[in-house]
Each structure stands twice: as C-alpha cells, then as structure tokens.
C-alpha cells in the first residue's frame, strides 16, 4: 500500500546531504558567465547602445543584442510578444537590453556597468485605468490585452428581487514569487551542435519549443534538463535564463552559465497581477445568494505572459464556491509599463477570493446571519451548477470542509484584541477550457528495474514522490523496483507544466494508465507465479524492449466566448480556512495566531505532503494579506520587499476531506494553489472581527490599517475605480 501513506520524499536524502546539484552549482570546463543588462526606464525609445568600452574589457568574450538572435526574438506562453532583448523600445523597468558574456561573473557584471545607452523617454502608463483611456499605446493593437466574460441568468431582474445588495470595490497589489532559489541555468553545445540547457524550471518541454524558436533550430536539436528546482510558484513557467544561456552557448560555442541575483530575479521576473474588483452581490432574506455582478480590471504589465489566463480564471471563479443563479462578470486586462505580470500560485483567485469572501461577510452582517451559516446555505454541493453552467456531479467536498471547521468556529472566543475570520475557495484543477494532456512512459530495464520516465517537474512541491506512490500502488511492487528517470526532454514525454495544481491529478492519471498496462504485462509474464521481475526484464529486451504509455487529458469543453458557459475543468478542489488574528490596538500591528484549514483534495496520496502544501500556502497568504507589495523601480531586493518569516507563522490545524474524484488517480485532485487561495481573505475577515475595520486594499499592513482606523470609515473603498 502506497496511496495514503506518508512515503518519505524520494529526494529527501539527496537534499539533506547537500548533494543535489542546483543549476547555479554546475560547472563545466571552459564555462563562461553571462549577465543580462536591463533598462532603468519604464517606457522609452532606444536611440543607441554603446558597448565598445565593455567589449574591450579584458575577459569579455562577447556582447549580444537583439540583432544577434538567429531565430525569433519573442516568447510567451500564449502570445510570442515578449522580446528576449529589446528591439527599438523598452516597455518596463527591467527590460533586457544586452547580454554580456565573459570569463567570470565579476568581469561580466563590471563590464555591464560600462555600457552606455541613450534613450528618448516616452510617457509611461502606470496603471490600467490610464492605459484604458490613454492615446499612448504600448503595443500595436492597443492597450487592452483581453476581456473575458461570464453571463448566466438575469442579474437585473434578480437585483430587483433581492432583499440586500452589497457593492464594494477591492484591490490588490503586485506580488513577487520570492522562490528560494533564484533563476539559474547552464547551456552548452555538444560536438554535434545540439544545445543542452540545464535549468531551474517548471516545464521542460515548453522551454524546448521556445529555445528552438529562438535559435531557429529544430526541436530535436534542443535538449532541456530540469535541475533540482527550489520553488517556482509560476515564476519559472515563462522563459527566464534559458533563452540567454542557450543563445550565449550557441553564439560562443562554449558552456555558459546565467544565474540571477535576488535583485535581478525581482527586477526581471513576472509578478502576481494587481486586480481591481468591483463586486455587487445580492441575497434573499434567508441568506441565499441571488446574483453577482463583478467587474474586474487587471494590470498585466508590459507583455502578455499569462495575463489572459488570469483574466479568465478570475471571471470563472468570481462567485467563489457558492451557487449563484444569476451572474454577470467582466474581466479585463490592460497593458501598462509595469513589470510583466504572469502566473503566480492561484492565477487571480487569491485576489477574487478576497473580494467574494469579504462580500459574504458583509451580506451575513446585513442579514444578521452567522458567517459560517451563510456559507453553508450557499455552498456548492453535489448537483449544483457553477457560474459557467457546469453541473457538479461528483467530488464536491466543500460542505464537508465547512463542517470540519465548524466546531472550532463555534468555540471561538473573543478575549480582547483577537478576531476570527473565514475564507473559502474553489479552484478548477488544470488549464481552463483547453486540452492540457500529460503523458509518461515506463520501460523495463535490463538490470531488472522499471524505468519511470517522467516529464513532470518537481519544483519542491513533491510531485516526484506522489507520482512514484501512484505508480507503486498501481504496480503492486516494492519501492526499489522503480528507477525514476525524470526532467529530461530526451528521455521523457511532455507532461505539461507544473502549474494549475495539475500534476497529481493529470500526470497522476497518466502514470496510473501506464502502470495498469505494465501490471497486466507483468501478470501475463507470470510475476504472480514466481517469476522474478529481473527475469521478465531481461527477457523483455529480447522482445525489443516494450514501452508502456500513459496518457490523460481531463474532459473539458471550451467556454463560449460571449457567455463563458461550458465545462472549463473536469474537477475542482474546495477549501475553507478559519483564521485567528491579534491586532495591537496601539500600533495596528496584526499577527496571525492560529489557522484551521480544511481541504477537499479528493484523495490525499501523501497526507504529509498535502499538509506541507497547506502550511506553505498559509505562509504565502499571510504575506499576500499583510506584507507584500512590489513597487516597480523601488522594490529592489528583500531589504525592502517583505515576505513572512518563520516568526510570523501561526500554528495550523489541517483537516483533509476526501471526496474522491472518479476521473483522478485513486480519487485525487490537487492542492498546490488551493492551500494559498483562501488565506488572505480569512485574515481580512478576522481583522474586521478584531477591530471593526474592514480593509478593501491589500496588503493591509499596519500602515494602511492605522489610516483606516484614523478615518474611522469602515466603508472606505480605497480606489478610484467605480463600476
């Protein structure tokens, strides 16, 4: 039995022994270092780049600008609009301009300081409201990246019939991922001219395609290997160092290392989208929700990245995990001259959860209903229909999650400066309304082991362990029978990105499929009749080495482009958090004391790994609600950008709900993002309970909270955005 067991992480020994070679640790004979020079302007035309002094510095091998790129100078998961190296214009503070390649990192960095750039400044667009009306356009085709909508029923009619309507505007700020390991990668050409890149990444097969376009080489001439990766949270989905390392290796014919400092990481990497969310929610006297009208406006920064995905996910999840019969949501993303916003744990839902959970508490207050009660009344359950018209027939454990925290909620005691708040969420597992398959394969190795070829990237979340557990359970074999061969585009199939909380569910199912085929084969060959695995394996090589494929693509349908109706996800995760905070009355400093977190994960393949995700999500949610705010050109390092430390961590009680998902491996769904999503919202509701003050703007640090309490205006909505 492996499923449901707390199997030790497969990489534990390597990590605790300090033996894992992270990308930045790699060295090769003749290796050069490359450093990326970035713009210190928000929006400007490049008049000239003078690199003569830098180039004549001893030890500098080469300096690359956009004209040296052999292939296409543009990348992006949905739209190839982001240049590797600026061509004519810079559109954000931190846009890459040139790559300096030198014998040492020190020489490269010092040479970079000698490059002179002449700009002609252009008017910068600092926020999406400006971008919406300005005559200045950042890209041809205007400043609107996309507009997504979800329409269902008749909200006007429902509004007329509602006993209470609450309308408020919420806003959140840019957040950095602050993964522990900064971006790093090593690229080298081999004698046949193939380029190999070893990097810290969440998706090897996608990177292979991008590097192939960049170098104008066929995909099979590019090999991407994932180094052990110290966190990603969505920040290692877009191309980071891979492009520069590959380009430099290709042009110099030598191995090249690119590794970012924390400052470079913060300057260059994508951010969580700041969203402005106007919510108008109605309810009947008995607490049942009647309608939701939401208008969401996002600042996607200078390039497309995952902006459209965030807009769509925010629209689809705008209701929260509740039955709302009438829905009208419009979600728009605008280009600005801010850092590129992209994928970050939760894809817009931590932001909308702040809005819908605050609305739930405001409705409860207006109707004199207990906050937990109003959530129970409206909870999505078996047979409920979502905003996109999807009927949920199985694995809807939200009500059970609420029941898990009910005892703690009922026993809560106000003792002075403390307060309690609830936050809930649902989250669609996998990509939204598009195919997002995963594949893996198994081979029989002559030495008597099963080769587990896995293209999914373990970025610290533990997918290698969980997927191994699924395979072992399926095969009914011992742990040492399997050899994990992973993260190499040469030896594995495309498992899709480690994002959207999808690896356990989607790749897990592909592993189950492959494992089932192999199990039948082994049974046929007599493994249960005393024949050894080793014997079967060595005989198999005579048969040409059979391969056992696994494949899974969750059943979804595309969403109607106008109404947003359809089946965007095959399954959803659900969660309810209850948080206790303490707010110092004199200083407005808020500390999180205790969190009760209940999650419907379908089936916990590895319960400790699930809990680990929840602890991490709670920590990140504390940062999101109370501390983190990335200010372009001012947030330069962790000196001024604050994330929580262990001293900010509350005690966390976890409750695992296992309402099995029939399409998932052993009933499993996902938990990576759900762990974070409700946390910020529950803190904000707890602050309201503790102080009587409701914040409408995140992060709600003591500075904002103090200003709110001074103004004593509980309905302060802190935004210029109306309707």
């Amino acid at each position: 039995m492996f499923v449901g067991e707390n199997l030790e992480r497969v990489d534990a020994l390597e990590k605790v022994m300090g033996k894992g070679m992270f990308a930045g640790d790699l060295r090769m004979e003749g290796m050069l270092f490359a450093v990326v020079l970035r713009s210190d302007r928000f929006h400007a035309r490049i008049i000239s780049i003078d690199a003569d002094d830098a180039l004549s510095t001893e030890g500098v091998a080469r300096i690359i600008t956009h004209s040296d790129i052999p292939g296409a100078n543009g990348y992006g998961v949905l739209k190839k609009d982001q240049p590797y190296l600026a061509e004519g214009y810079v559109r954000f503070f931190g846009e890459p301009l040139a790559v300096i390649i030198a014998e040492s990192e020190r020489i490269a960095r010092e040479a970079a300081l000698k490059i002179r750039i002449i700009y002609e400044d252009m008017e910068p667009l600092n926020d999406p409201f400006m971008a919406a009306v300005s005559t200045v356009t950042i890209h041809k085709g205007g400043n609107l990246l996309c507009r997504k909508s979800v329409f269902k029923g008749d909200t006007k009619k429902a509004a007329a019939d509602s006993s209470v309507i609450i309308e408020r505007t919420y806003s959140t700020r840019r957040v950095d991922h602050v993964f522990l390991e900064c971006e790093a990668g090593l690229a080298f050409p081999d004698t046949s001219g193939r380029i190999t890149v070893i990097s810290s990444t969440q998706n090897i097969h996608y990177k292979q395609k991008e590097v192939s376009r960049l170098l104008s080489l066929p995909e099979e001439r590019i090999r991407i290997i994932q180094a052990p990766t110290g966190g990603g949270f969505g920040g290692k989905l877009d191309v980071t160092v891979e492009g520069y390392a590959a380009l430099a290796a290709y042009l110099t014919g030598r191995p090249v290392m690119v590794r970012y400092t924390r400052e470079e990481s913060m300057l260059s990497n994508t951010k969580r989208h700041p969203l402005y969310m106007n919510y108008r929610t109605g309810a009947a006297k008995d607490g049942r929700l009647t309608f939701l009208e939401a208008k969401i406006i996002g600042d996607t920064g200078a390039y497309a990245s995952y902006g459209a995905v965030v807009a769509l996910r925010a629209a689809v999840h705008a209701t929260g995990p509740y039955q709302v019969p009438n829905v009208e949501v419009e979600s728009s993303m605008y280009f600005t001259n801010n850092p590129v916003c992209g994928a970050m744990r939760g894809f817009g839902i931590p932001q909308t959860a702040f809005a819908h959970e605050s609305q739930m508490d405001l409705l409860a207050e207006a109707l004199c209903i207990d906050p937990l009660e109003i959530r129970k009344i409206n909870a999505l359950r078996k047979g409920s229909e979502t905003a996109t018209g999807q009927v949920l027939n199985h694995s809807v454990g939200f009500y059970d999650a609420l029941k898990c925290i009910e005892p703690a909620w009922k026993e809560r005691k106000k003792t002075g400066n403390n307060g309690f708040g609830l936050g809930c969420m649902f989250y669609g597992i996998g990509n939204t309304g598009v195919p997002n398959p995963s594949a893996c394969h198994l081979t029989l190795m002559p030495e008597g082991k099963i080769g587990f070829h896995l293209g999914a990237c373990d970025i610290g979340q533990g997918s290698d362990t969980v997927l191994t557990q699924i395979l072992l359970e399926t095969l009914g074999l011992e742990k040492n029978c399997v050899l994990l061969l992973k993260g190499d585009s040469d030896t594995t199939r495309d498992a899709g990105s480690s994002s959207a909380s999808r690896q356990t569910y989607i790749t897990g199912k592909a592993v189950f499929e492959a494992g089932s085929k192999l199990r039948s084969y082994l049974e046929e060959k007599g493994i249960n009749k005393g024949r050894s695995l080793k014997d079967i394996c060595s005989a198999a090589s005579g048969e040409g080495g059979p391969i056992f494929d696994g494949f899974f693509d969750p059943p979804t349908t595309p969403l109607d482009p106008v109404t947003g109706q359809g089946i965007p996800y095959a399954t959803y995760a659900f969660a309810a958090h209850m948080t206790e905070v303490e707010v110092d009355a004199a200083t407005c400093v808020c500390r999180v004391k205790k969190v009760h977190a209940a999650h419907d994960v379908g089936r916990a393949i590895n319960p400790d790994a699930v809990r680990g995700q929840i602890f991490g999500g709670v920590a990140m949610g504390i940062g999101f609600a109370l501390m983190e705010e990335f200010i372009p050109s001012r947030s330069k390092s962790l000196y001024s950008y604050y994330i929580p430390t262990s001293m900010d961590m509350p005690s966390v009680e976890t409750y695992l709900v296992e309402d099995e998902e029939p399409t998932g491996p052993y009933g499993a769904k996902g938990v990576g993002e759900p762990a974070l999503i409700p946390q910020g919202a529950s803190i904000m509701n707890a602050i309201r309970d503790a102080t009587g003050i409701r914040g409408f703007e995140l992060p709600c640090n003591f500075e904002r909270l103090c200003v709110l309490s001074e103004n004593n205006d509980c309905n302060y909505s802190g935004s210029k955005f109306k309707g």
Partner: protein, 276 residues
C-alpha cells in the same frame, strides 16, 4: 557580488588607529551588517576595511561599575547579558529585535551608532541613558554625547581616522523603562518607528521623564521640550496629552509634512499615551 577590497585585522587599538590614519579610502568594519550591504550595492567602495572586532582592548565587555560598554559588543550579547538586561532593559530589548540571529551575532553596538541610520535600533535606548562616547584618533581623545554626535541620516561627527572606543551609560534607578518598536513583520525587519522611554514618578508627580524616538525624523532624538514640561507635573492624562502634542509638533517641525505621518503620528500618540 562583492567588489574586491582588502581587509586588515588589527589586534591592538593603537594599530587600528594607525591604519585608519595611514591607509587611503578605508572604512571601519565593526560587524559589517550594513557596510557589506552597501559595498555589494556599490554605494560605498572602500579599498580597505579595518576590522576592529579583534582589537584586544575592546573585547565584548560591560563594566558594571563605570557603566561602560565596549563598542564591539554584539547585539546578541547585549540582548542576553544579564547585567545589561538588568541595567539597560530597553537597550537589551532593542538589540533582541534587530534582524535575525545571524545579524545579531555579528552586528555591534558601536557599528550601529557609527552607521548613523535613522532606524538604528540601539540608538533610542542609548539616548534615554544619556549615552556618552569616547572617540579616539592618534591625535587624541574626545568625549561627546550621543545626542549631538548624530548629525543627519548616515552622517555623524566621526571622522575617517577616528574610532568610538567606549560607550558610557547612566544607570536609571527607580525608573520605569520601556521600548516599543514597530515593524511590518515579526522578525528580520527594519523598524518603522521606535520609542524608548524612562519614567520616574513620585507621589503622582513626574520626577523625571526621558523619551527618545527613532525611525521618524532624520536623526533619532530626545523629546527634551516635552520632558521638561512633564517634569514636576502631576501624572494625569491632561499633562501627558499636552506633552504628546508637543512631541508631534517637534516632529512636524523637523521633517515637514510627510505621507508616512498619516500612520506614524497616530501610532506614536497611542504608544506614548500607553507608555506614560
């Protein structure tokens, strides 16, 4: 990435002072938790560092009889040493809240003073003890009050060939001593406001009040005017409120209007009302 520099490690005070006089473009390394950050950012580019933490005359000592602290005692030492905890509780508390254990193990009190950061955590507690500094160079020795020593953010009256060689504190018998420090997270954070106080009351009358405020004005300061006003005043709410208003007026005069006043001043008011 750190640029290259030379690091000299003198073992005696005189040796250190000689190096400071003779070497060009030097900076004193007394822990380096601020200095190395600046060097790494290229905002400060010394050729030579003189590491004074091994100077044998300094050590990591506190002399109870004279109230003299060695400049190279670390924040960790100051936060843990029982005699400092007992005699200077606000200093001990302030030092305990600086940075992380690693920073506290390295950062020194002398370094914290000399760096003259407006948010230096040891400074407000030192100010309420009327700290005096002995400053030496090969040319001689002078004795200055900490209060006048700090001139502006990151600027003091210390010249490049001088060292702070001792820190003298007044012990405050019979005082209520406290410190409140405000920061965005529970640890490893720069203070956004810090207030140290020492209050002596007798029969419902303020006998002596000392208030020092950091992270609010360009230089941490003693609220002398309000202190004088409170002295010999009855300890009622009215006098305290008036004193707090005086302090706020002084801050406004020192800094002009600042956006951060929107939260700093109300919180400062709350802290002072609670403390007094």
């Amino acid at each position: 990435m750190l640029p290259r520099f030379r690091c000299l490690v003198p073992r005696a005070k005189k040796e250190a002072l000689t190096m400071l006089r003779d070497e060009a473009n030097t900076r004193v390394l007394a822990g380096g938790t601020d200095l190395l950050v600046d060097i790494r950012k290229y905002t400060c580019c010394p050729e030579t560092l003189v590491d004074i933490t091994r100077v044998k005359e300094f050590g990591r000592s506190f002399d109870r009889a004279s109230g003299i602290l060695s400049p190279t005692i670390t924040h960790a030492f100051a936060s843990r040493a029982p005699e400092i905890k007992h005699n200077f509780p606000a200093l001990s508390l302030g030092c305990a809240q600086v940075g992380s254990p690693q920073i506290r193990n390295t950062a020194t009190i002398g370094g914290n003073i000399a760096n003259a950061c407006p948010a230096a955590d040891s400074v407000p507690p030192l100010l309420i003890h009327d700290a005096r500094l002995t400053i030496e160079s090969l040319a001689g020795e002078r004795d200055v009050a900490l209060e006048g020593f700090l001139l502006a953010p990151y600027r003091s009256s210390l010249s490049t060939d001088e060292l702070i060689t001792s820190i003298r504190l007044q012990t405050l018998q019979g005082y209520r001593v406290g410190l409140k420090r405000l920061s965005i997270r529970a640890a490893l954070s720069i203070s956004r406001l810090s207030v140290a106080w020492a209050v002596k009351e007798e029969d419902g009358v303020f006998d002596d009040v000392r208030i020092a405020i950091g992270s609010c004005t360009p230089v941490a300061f003693r609220a002398r005017e309000a202190e004088a006003f409170l002295k010999e005043n009855p300890t009622g709410y009215k006098a305290i409120e008036e004193a707090v208003e005086m302090i706020i007026k002084v801050i406004r005069k020192k800094t002009g209007e600042r956006p951060t006043h929107a939260f700093k001043l109300p919180i400062l008011r709350n802290i002072l009302l609670e403390a007094l």
